[in-house]
Amino acid sequence: MWLRNLRQPAVVAIAIYILMFAVYAGFQGGFAVSPYGLAILANSTAALVFAAMAVSVVMLTGGFDVSVVGIIALANVIAASFQVQSVPGALALYGLVILVGALFGLVNGLFVAYVGLQSIAMTLGTMIVSSGCALLILDTPGGTVPAVISYGLTDSLGVFPIAGIAILCGTALLWVLLRRTTVGLRIYAVGQDATAARASGVNVPRITAVAYVLSGMLAATSGFMLAAQTGTGDPRFDPSMLLLAFAAAAIGGTSFSGGRGSIIGSVVGAGILALMQKTLFVVGVSSFYTGIFQGVLMLVAVVIGRFALAGEEE
């Protein structure tokens, strides 16, 4: 049984992560595992993790959501535009950000699921619109994210970085939703075979729309985490974030044709990509090489996944 588990892309990804962390810690020494070191790593990972979750949820239905980066930028500038002082205020701000993300997700979902637009075309549109909205709110990079957020979310609770806790909670919540509710079962089913799912009694348009709404909320969370990490607002969307989010999903074994994949895989995939930047830095490789390493790693993971799949089907 455990041998079979070894074939799971998520398990492969976890193994790669542990290996890479060993290299990272080896070069960094004790700092890597100190509370401060862990917090830095978690902070630089969090935004990508939530972005990867966002694209993965839609990928499971067989679609692509590229609006994620637009929503991230919008969430980022919203977080930098309200000077809240207290924790309840920060939570209210997070609520607002989530609401905005959900709204864009809903628009995506309605047009893809009920009007029948192709997902890339539709979400490309909302990506441009949402980053346009971000520019309206903040026309140049700047502004200050409230300290309660930028310090609160990047701090540590004892040895545990808060961003890390956020990652774990987000992952656990989404995992439960996808694997332990019928909504989750249906999201997977739609991606595997929409016709069969429909004939089985799944309300395919509604489930598809739900996935886009979820994706919007996760993207907004990603933008919020990014704001906390950078401490400032930036209305420009980051294309490399989008590509890395898809790469993270691919490393984690989420299928680009829908219906297969695991959220844990995507999260660890995002972790690997973020850790790789750090590792290359501490090893002393010029940052110009980061892209090459990340790309090659993704291809390796996809090839491994391909063979794991072939093994499963034998």
């Binding site: 694997r179 079962l185 089913a189 075979d193 069969a196 089985s200």
Partner: protein, 510 residues
């Protein structure tokens, strides 16, 4: 008796194709009604309309006296209409239990508790006497027959008021399994629409029959008041006398002295373990087996599509090693697989392109471009051979009926001018007319010196066509019959593992 289902003047078209012209029928509570008709007669369209997958252009449906216009299968279920689809509606990478829960077949749930879900699914499967399916198995990994039983069990379990069974026995080796449950439901007042091409099954299960032809309901009667000939006439508009006469014609004996077009020795692929099997030029060899006896592995092993084989394989004298369809094509063997939808047709392409795809290299003209005129001529000739209406050639293949798709696949196979045809259940779920065409094509192919190896779930087909039938059981060939020896009851005996002689039995056990 009161009518549970009333359908009046139902019509539906897709683009310029009229799928249903005018369909009217009434089915009473507790009645089991057979729906017969050739491919393209409108049966599948009717099923989809009733299930809420598509909506009619006009006409009226009343269910239990109330207007019924489902816009989705969800709404159909709310009105207690359940369908077991011919093309099956299981989600491949979900396990069996998840398939029961995904569409709410087990009531409304939001939380999915895996253990509880598996336990209740197990209980349902047990209730339907399905022991050989693990609830944790992925639906896509099950055999076609298992998937079909699962689809049916899922449908029956909901105890619908209107039960629609679309070709439920197409992949079932033992249809008796189904009848008891259907009759039980009917006794509780459920109206049943039963679609099958097998008259024996229809007579066994149904009380009444409606025949569709060209999108119209042309004939309705009690089954006890109608002969088979009358039904055939209603379906195809011609009498069966002609086709029965064809049986009497003696066929030329195969040339067993010549080099066989297909020869395997000590052959192993997947579950299949075949010591010796040869197909001579002009010979039609049938394979008979219950589900899952390794016949699928034997065929895909010979065809080189999935499992790597061990042992020797010769196609028209050429030894073949390893996988790969192309080298088999070159050697003269072509395979028409079981699953049209996933293994055969190329959706989105025209029927013409689907037929010519394997032989495009023959029509390449200047600068490596495809000579469209030549392609069209060759395809048209092949289409005539398998009796496909030339009008269909320009249409996307997924718009054609299942029977016509199957004919197109056969045309594609024949265009490669093979010496050996490998057919896996070629007439599964196709209508009488298409069957006759396929039989005619097969016979002509054999008369011209080609060899055919075909597996069929329809035993009568084997009895009627094969020069020789090999029976597979647990991966081995446990019996072989020739000519007059081939009889249904003997086939069934052998298929169930009752070996003809102790010697053969000893081989199997060893």
């Amino acid at each position: 008796m009161t009518s549970l289902l009333e359908v009046r003047d139902l019509g539906k078209h897709f683009g310029s194709t009229i799928a249903l012209r005018q369909l009217s029928l009434e089915v009473a509570q507790g009645e089991i009604r057979a729906l017969l008709g050739e491919n393209g007669a409108g049966k599948s369209t009717f099923v989809k309309l009733l299930s809420g997958l598509i909506r009619p252009d006009r006409g009226e449906i009343r269910l239990e006296g109330r207007d019924y216009q489902p816009t989705s299968p969800v709404q159909a279920r709310e009105r207690s209409v359940a369908t077991a689809y011919q093309e099956l509606s299981l989600v491949p990478y979900h396990d069996v239990a998840e398939n029961f829960f995904v569409g709410g077949a087990l009531g409304k749930h939001h939380v999915y508790r895996r253990k509880a879900a598996r336990a209740s699914t197990r209980a349902i499967l047990d209730e339907f006497g399905i022991q050989d399916i693990e609830v944790g198995a992925k639906a896509g990994a099950l055999s076609l027959a298992q998937q079909q039983r699962l689809e049916i069990a899922r449908t029956l379990h909901s105890r619908p008021r209107l039960l629609i069974l679309d070709e439920p026995t197409a992949a079932l080796p033992d249809p008796e399994w189904l009848y008891g449950y259907v009759e039980q439901l009917a006794a509780s007042g459920t109206a049943v629409l039963f679609i099958s091409h097998r008259l024996a099954e229809v007579r066994r299960l149904c009380q009444s029959v409606t025949v569709l032809r060209g999108g119209e309901s042309v004939y309705t009667n009690q089954l006890s008041a109608v002969t088979d000939d009358e039904l055939f006439e209603a379906m195809v508009g011609r009498s069966l006398g002609r086709t029965l006469a064809a049986d009497a014609v003696s066929r030329p004996e195969p040339n067993r002295a010549a080099t066989p077009v297909l020869k395997v020795k000590g052959f192993e692929a997947g579950e299949a373990r075949v010591e010796d099997l040869a197909v001579a030029p002009g010979e039609i060899v049938g394979i008979a087996a219950l589900e899952g006896q390794g016949q699928k592995d034997l065929f895909s092993g010979i065809a080189g599509v999935s499992n790597r084989h061990h042992g020797s394989l010769e196609i028209a004298g050429t030894a073949i090693d390893g996988r790969g369809i192309v080298r088999r094509l070159k050697a003269g063997l072509v395979y028409v697989p079981e699953e049209r939808k996933t293994e055969g047709i190329l959706q989105g392409l025209t029927t013409e392109a689907n037929i010519s795809i394997s032989t495009l290299r023959d029509v390449v003209g200047y600068f490596g471009l495809v000579d469209a005129k030549k392609e069209r001529e060759r395809v048209a000739a092949a289409a005539d051979l398998v009796d496909i209406n030339r009008e269909y050639l320009a249409r996307p293949i997924e718009r054609l009926s299942g029977g016509n798709q199957q004919k197109a696949l056969l045309a594609r196979a024949l265009m490669t001018t093979p010496q050996c045809l490998l057919l896996f259940d070629p007439t599964r779920g196709v209508d009488v007319g298409t069957k006759e065409t396929m039989y005619a094509v097969m016979e002509r192919f054999a008369e011209r010196g080609g060899g055919i190896l075909f597996y069929s779930t329809d035993l009568q087909e084997l009895v009627r066509f094969a020069h020789r039938v090999a029976v597979m059981y647990r991966g081995h060939i446990v019996g072989e019959m020739k000519g007059e020896e081939i009889r249904e009851e003997r086939l069934v005996r052998a298929m169930c593992g009752y070996a003809e002689s102790e010697e053969v039995r000893a081989n199997v056990v060893a």
